[in-house]
């Protein structure tokens, strides 16, 4: 079955199967958008929690850490309840659109980026803030210094969030609905092929998903070529 899957994946790729390309492109842009939004807010929140005294600090830190364990089906369920016609935001008609998946994946990614950024800033050498301050750096300049010093860990935080979003199934299935050509992603397509009994095609879809994940990983790795030498 796995060999068949390889062969199928190859066939789907070289023939640029339109349904696969469609699902793959949708998976990529949904995850990228969700992670981009979550990174903007999550990195800021992580920085804030690590460097400033915030009301209910412990509560927030624990909340975000707990947030990493929230199952995607629960996020999907909550988003469904909100976006359903009977829900609070039903009038927006977002249910069964890709935008609903973006919102759900944003809440999946946010705790990951926040928690890992928070941890990364906390682990910085204490001389970094001291030195920055001594050299007379303003707040903006200090923030840039912290981010720069922790950039490997932050890049990994973003990559982790992307991996989670790109491979999640619960949210996409629940609020996207796996509608062919509208909200079908690589993971919901894989689930469908499995339900159909087309196991090799399911394996093929997953290979394509892994291939794209590899590309993204390499992209992020190459954007910080010197990262693994930071400490030496």
């Amino acid at each position: 079955m796995i060999q068949e899957g390889f062969a199928d994946a190859w066939q789907l790729l070289i023939h640029l199967d339109p349904s696969v390309l469609d699902a793959a492109a949708r998976s990529v842009w949904i995850s990228l958008l969700a992670v981009a939004a979550a990174s903007l807010i999550g990195i800021a929140a992580g920085l804030l929690l690590a460097r400033k005294r915030v009301l209910g600090q412990r509560f927030w830190v624990i909340l975000f850490r707990l947030g990493m364990s929230v199952p995607t089906v629960l996020i999907g369920l909550l988003c469904f309840a909100v976006f359903s016609r009977r829900g609070a935001l039903g009038s927006l008609e977002l249910l069964y659109t890709s935008w609903a998946i973006v919102v759900g994946e944003f809440f999946l990614a946010l705790p990951i980026v926040t928690t890992l950024t928070h941890g990364a800033i906390l682990r910085l050498d204490p001389r970094v803030p001291e030195t920055a301050r001594t050299l007379g750096a303003g707040p903006a300049c200090r923030v840039m210094t912290y981010l720069n010093e922790a950039r490997l860990a932050i890049a990994l935080a973003i990559l982790t969030a992307f991996s989670r979003c790109f491979t999640e199934l619960g949210i996409a299935m629940m609020v996207g609905g796996n509608l062919a050509g509208r909200t079908r992603t690589l993971t919901t397509a894989t689930a469908l092929e499995t339900a159909r009994g087309e196991f090799a095609r399911g394996v093929a879809m997953s290979f394509i998903l892994l291939l794209i994940a590899l590309l993204v990983t390499l992209l992020i790795a190459s954007s910080g070529r010197d990262m693994d030498k930071v400490k030496s």
Binding site: R58, I62, L95, Y96, L122, G177, G181, T194, A195
Partner: protein
Amino acid sequence: MIGGNIHAMSHTFQIAWLMAGVIVGAGCQPDAASPRSRSGCRTRTDTNTDSESTASDSSVLRLASTTSTRDSGLCDVLLPMFEQLHNCRVDLIAVGTGKALRLAEAGDVDVILCHAKSAEEAFVAAGHGVRREPVMHNSFLIVGPADDPAAIQGIEPAEAIGKIGAGQHRFVSRGDDSGTHQREMELWDSVGGHPTWQDYIETGQGMGPTLIIADEMDAYLLVDMGTWLKRRDGLRLAELITEGQGLENPYAVTVVNPVKHPAIHDELAHAFADFLVSDQAQTVIADYRVNGTRLFHPDRLAQEQIE
């Protein structure tokens, strides 16, 4: 200072989490070794040599069935009866008909209970199955928005499908090769082919989720009676066509060919087929009701025996 505090705290937390994990893990252990585990069952059978049980040496029957029989609750009644009669255990794998047939073809299950007559007959003809017995039937129905923009209420199913296609009204399809999806395709075939238009939507999901999607999107839908009766409360969709040619929904049990797959427990599989067509099981099927409505009509009882 603050950073240091939190760092210390986070360390404490890490340890707490680890411990919680260990405790939870330990708590799960007894479950993993419950008497229902495969090895436990085997042992029971092996030592039970003087029993009159007709079960073969492997007392686990693997049944692939459609999700509708599981979701309707019928299997919860029938399977324990069979398990008691034959001193065995039935593992129910509830999947769409397409997948059930694939599992059977690969020899991963011993017997299937499905509702796609032509696909099952082809399965037997190809030598994958040895015996197919009609068990029961109910029907499909076409539901849709209450204002019925395609004006199909009460007309013939094929004509209705044609009108929905011609008017390009919103229609939600399972699109998952299930028995219901195959029936929908047969209806499309009867009006000249498979449709594609902007508002023909394939969900690729089971009947329950697809029904919810159709309800949220105000779309037409072919649905099996069992799922509809169970789920219709709280939905805005209306019953539009409940009878007519092409809406019958026959369930049959098919025994997988043991010659092709030596691991198949064919003795137990045949016993299961015998059981489903026996008066005992047929009466249970006839008496099974959800919210006062009969879900399945037995095929093997004389008409006067029903009711």
